[in-house]
């Protein structure tokens, strides 16, 4: 944990300053201005700029990091980019075109989508890294989840706009979706907070605060929209805007974090498993939803038809994606199998080679000990020969014999010494000789 002064230094970045300034300006505008065109203009500008600032702060984090962490920031950047886009849509309608925005598709849909990349980024668990091996498959899982979420929006909320126009039905469905999304994100980040340590824990805690402010802020907005008290730029916008400023603080806290290695192999393997399962459970939930629709006699028939079509189309698409994934997994399986087989074959070959040269190698390992042993009798021979040479009874021929013996022993010793030199060179490359096999 870091000290207070250092903490302030850490979170004092250009993005947090801008965000803080924007929030203060927003509060001032809400307090001092009454509902007017100018306020609408301002009220639409602040969220836009705030979302942009959050996105940019994540972007600067992404640029400083690498590996899984980089992907984590990248996903969050994309998410808040989408949020920025959804706010821009509002801005375009209310400020540029000067009419109230058509509620659903662009604004709401994008708003709902914005948190999906963030959710996906949590499944990466950036704090606990390892080699993030099967990212390829997880990208597909992410795509599945994203599409599933879109489907839920299309299923629950959108029919009440597209097929039968009914705000009393649309709004609650939309709010519940948004709320459950926020709830899921909070649960995910909470779980990460529990499992992480040190600076990451601090970062997750801040992220959790910011996200809960985000959820509460948007809930407040929705409640007051329903009561008719809301107007763009009003004080009800402030909590939500403040939550975005909190997010920039979280980004500043997470700026220099790197993943901590040391996770066990098993958990590494199981990581991909759960995102895959989640994606598949999403796919399975769709037919269940459709079955529920068929038995639902309160909903108007056109909506039922719309929903059934949606589900059938979605399952078709998601099923295709899943099969693409399965076939690529299958190929990967075959590749690994081939790899294992070829390694085993090479292993056999290497073992055979080792077996083939093991006797010679054994002789080599014995060399230093053996030369020592052989040197002793040779030295003895030389000594005896020396004594013998001084013996006066020797004839000329016998003298020659003794000389011959000496010469031969010298030859043998020379050969041994040559070998010893070689052994010494070898011994230097090896740590220590062992005469075992």
């Amino acid at each position: 944990m870091i000290g207070e002064a250092e903490l302030i230094r850490t979170i004092d970045t250009i993005w947090t300053r801008i965000a803080l300034g924007l929030v203060i300006a927003q509060i001032c505008a809400a307090v001092f201005l009454h509902a007017s065109t100018a306020l609408t203009w301002l009220g639409d500008t602040f969220p836009c700029l705030l979302a942009l600032v959050v996105m940019l702060s994540f972007r600067s984090n992404r640029r400083q990091s690498s590996g899984t962490v980089r992907l984590f920031w990248g996903l969050n950047e994309a998410g808040f980019g989408i949020l920025f886009l959804s706010q821009t849509v509002w801005f375009c309608y209310e400020v540029v075109l000067r009419r109230s925005a058509p509620n659903p598709i662009a604004g709401d849909g994008l708003f709902l989508l914005a948190l999906v990349p963030t959710l996906a980024s949590f499944t990466l668990r950036p704090h606990a890294d390892g080699a993030a091996g099967d990212l390829r498959f997880r990208r597909l899982d992410f795509l599945l989840l994203l599409f599933w979420w879109v489907c839920l929006y299309l299923y629950f909320a959108l029919p009440w706009q597209l097929v039968v126009k009914s705000y009393p039905n649309y709004n609650p469905a939309y709010y519940i979706l948004a709320l459950s999304e926020h709830g899921a994100a909070l649960a995910a980040v909470g779980a990460l907070y529990v499992k992480s340590k040190g600076s990451w824990k601090q970062f997750y805690r801040q992220f959790f605060f910011a996200l809960s402010a985000f959820a509460i802020g948007s809930l407040l907005q929705n409640i007051f929209i329903d009561r008719g008290l809301y107007y763009t730029g009003s004080f009800y916008d402030v909590p939500w805007g403040f939550s975005l400023a909190l997010l920039t603080v979280a980004a500043a806290l997470g700026g220099n974090l790197e993943s901590q290695t040391g996770e066990s192999e098993v958990t590494l393997r199981n990581r991909g498993l759960w995102s895959a399962r989640l994606a598949m459970i999403g796919v399975i939930s769709l037919p269940l939803l459709a079955i529920a629709t068929v038995f639902d006699h309160h909903t108007p028939q056109p909506i039922i038809i719309f929903r059934l079509r949606l589900i059938f189309g979605a399952v078709l698409f998601l099923g295709t994606l899943t099969f693409l994934k399965l076939s690529s997994m299958d190929r990967e399986l075959l590749r690994l199998l081939g790899l294992t087989e070829s390694s085993l074959e090479s292993l056999k070959l290497v073992q055979k080679q080792i077996l083939g040269s093991q006797r010679m190698a054994a002789l080599g390992r014995l060399a230093s000990g053996a030369t020592h042993e052989i040197s002793n009798p040779l030295t003895a021979i030389l000594g005896y020969a020396e004594l013998l040479r001084d013996n006066p009874t020797l004839t000329q021929e016998e003298h020659q014999s003794v000389k011959d013996i000496q010469a031969q022993v010298h030859l043998a010793q020379a050969a041994i010494n040559g070998m010893r030199r070689f052994v010494r060179v070898e011994a230097e490359s090896e740590a220590e000789k062992t005469p075992t096999l």
Binding site: V294, T340, V350, M360, L363, G369, G418, P435
Partner: protein
């Protein structure tokens, strides 16, 4: 549990032998009967008009044929194992379903003597009977490749079966269940039945094409019977719709003939007669690949099936077919099928994920193993080149010693001379001989030599091994040799035995490396007709005493050994008719126990 298992096994074996005993003659009789039945029926139906007797004969003979086929398939299933067992039992299940359908006909027409009502359960069984048969074919018992990815295939198979059932329910049953429209149901179920038969025929043809040998023969029979059955059922359906059909009429003759064919195929098939030999000799190059292809095919088929359900649903909703009760039923059916198929997909993906994780582990393990051994190979090659040098030097020394020996002879042959000179000469000769012996010992390491047995005294061998090991090393380890009195000689090859001793001593000294109070005790004891040598060290003991004699087992760091030493020792000791084992001592350290047979008793004792 095992006792029950044994009893069941016994019973099965008894059944098997019993059935084998009565088989050949009664089988022949059954085959002849199966031949006769359609012929008799043909004769009877050509002259006959609809009568109770004719109907009863037709129904009963068909039932008899089907039940016989079922029983024979089941018997085969009981008497085999593994994949073929599953194959035959699934076949029996299929024919059992068919028999039940037939039994319903018999029940109504013969027992109650009234026309058969359109019984959905019977029709359903008739259609669904193809499912187990299809499953049986997909098991591919004819393909015995080593590791078929069966479990994955099972998911695809289940998906296909679910889909098959779905098609029937969707196409035909919907009219009956939701629409209460018997006429549509009948016509549609006939169509669906016919389509099912065609598909099955096609698959069977593919199987026939891909199989070999005895299995191909069986499949060919099956294909023929199936084709005949297909033809017969189309014929009968036509006759029924034109009102000219009655049980026992000549429209029934092809059907009965088809059943007889199935029955004969079931009785006579002997693909299991020599399952292993027949397969291996006939399919020498069938390894993995075709099986892989089948799996891929079934995977693709199940994919198409799974993806077609939402497409069908989309069509239903879009085309407005969903308005009436039948459409409603179909949508629900499609949704439930979709649910089932996606759940199967999830399970399959999970399995694949697990497999992938496992294979990833295997691959990295195999790779790191390979790396380790490659490093060792480099070390080994270095040592081997040194070994070659040693061998060359050894030859030089040998020739030098030979020359010394000649000179010593020349010196020694001189009659005159003092004792001192004689002694010197003798010592030179002895030293030269000793050098020679050492060199020979060393060289024997590098060559595969036949055992050169002689009676040996163990102690001097051990001593020279100890000296050879300790030469040129720091002596931090004490070595003690304890010998019992009157240890007999052993019968063996001195060079090889010294090699074993060298390994054991060097291993013990290595185990006590850096241990100041290290003590290696070598105890020699006589025991009846053996002598036992124990090498006890005070090191850290063995990690896995059971595995040390395996080739390439080593606990040493890379470059220090390849783990062949002890396995070589094991081989040498066994060659000598001895034994070697090892264990950890309770007080710490390891003990290697070497047992060698003693040499045949000395002649002096024989006199006594």
């Amino acid at each position: 549990m095992t006792r029950i298992g044994e009893r069941v096994q016994e019973a099965v074996e008894q059944l098997q032998s019993n059935s084998n005993r009565w088989s050949s003659s009664s089988k022949k009789a059954l085959v002849v009967l199966a031949f006769l039945l359609p012929v008799l029926l043909a004769g009877a139906s050509l002259r006959g008009r609809p009568s109770y007797a004719l109907t009863a004969f037709g129904d009963l003979s068909q039932l008899f044929l089907l039940v016989t086929a079922t029983l024979f398939f089941a018997r085969k299933g009981i008497s085999t194992r593994g994949t073929p067992r599953a194959f035959w039992l699934l076949m029996a299940l299929g024919f059992g379903m068919w028999s039940v359908n037939m039994y319903l006909w018999v029940y109504y027409e013969v027992w109650l003597s009234q026309p058969v009502p359109s019984v959905p359960i019977g029709e359903f069984l008739l259609f669904i009977k193809l499912v187990p048969m299809l499953a049986a074919l997909a098991l591919a018992p004819n393909d015995n490749s080593p590791d078929p990815p069966r479990l994955l295939g099972l998911f695809d198979l289940t998906s296909l079966l679910v889909y098959w059932t779905y098609v029937y329910l969707f196409w035909a049953m919907a009219y009956l269940i939701a629409g209460k429209d018997l006429a549509s149901y009948n016509s549609q179920s006939d169509i669906v039945d016919a389509v099912g038969n065609q598909v099955f025929l096609f698959i069977l043809a593919v199987v026939v094409y891909r199989s070999r040998g005895r299995w191909q023969g069986f499949y060919l029979h099956f294909l023929g019977a199936m084709a005949l059955y297909d033809f017969a059922s189309i014929l009968i359906n036509r006759a029924i719709s034109s009102g000219r059909y009655f049980t026992g009429s000549y429209y029934d003759v092809p059907l009965t003939a088809a059943m007889a064919w199935f029955c004969i195929a079931a009785i006579t098939c002997d693909v299991e007669a020599q399952p292993e030999e027949a397969q291996t000799s006939e399919q020498p190059v069938n390894e993995g690949r075709p099986n892989r292809r089948t799996v891929l095919w079934s995977a693709r088929l199940s994919m198409v099936a799974t993806l077609s359900t939402p497409a069908i649903g989309l069509w239903l909703v879009t085309s407005g077919e969903a308005q009436d009760a039948v459409g409603h039923f179909r949508i629900l059916l499609t949704l439930f099928t979709m649910l089932l198929l996606t759940i199967l997909l999830l399970l399959k993906q999970d399995l694949l994920n697990f497999k992938l994780a496992g294979y990833l582990g295997d691959a990295s393990l195999a790779y790191s193993n390979l790396k380790r051994f490659e490093d060792q190979l480099v070390q080994n090659e270095k040592m081997a080149s040194l070994g070659k040098l040693v061998a060359r030097v050894a030859h030089e020394i040998n020739s030098a010693m030979a020359a010394v020996g000649k000179n010593v002879e020349a010196l020694g042959s001189c009659p005159m001379g003092d004792g001192n000179r004689q002694r010197m000469t003798a010592k030179i000769g002895e030293a030269a001989r000793r050098t020679n012996g050492l060199v020979e010992n060393m060289l024997s390491f590098a060559q595969e030599m036949p055992l050169h047995r002689s009676s040996l005294n163990v102690r001097p061998l051990l001593e020279s091994a100890v000296n050879l090991t300790r030469a040129g090393r720091r002596h931090s380890v004490r070595v003690e040799i304890q010998e019992q009195d009157a240890v007999p000689m052993v019968e063996g090859d001195a060079n090889q035995l010294i090699q074993v001793f060298l390994h054991l001593i060097a291993n013990a000294i290595d185990a006590m490396e850096g241990n100041e109070a290290g003590l290696l005790t070598i105890a020699i004891r006589a025991e009846q007709e053996h002598i036992e040598i124990g090498f006890m060290d005070t090191g850290s003991g063995l990690k896995e005493p059971r595995r040390v004699f395996e080739p390439f087992y080593t606990t040493k760091a890379v470059g220090k050994g390849v783990g062949l030493g002890l396995s070589t020792c094991y081989g040498i000791v066994r060659q000598h008719g001895g034994e070697i084992d090892c264990q950890n001592r309770p007080e710490g350290g390891a003990v290697f126990r070497l047992v060698l047979p003693a040499a045949v008793a000395a002649p002096a004792e024989a006199v006594l």
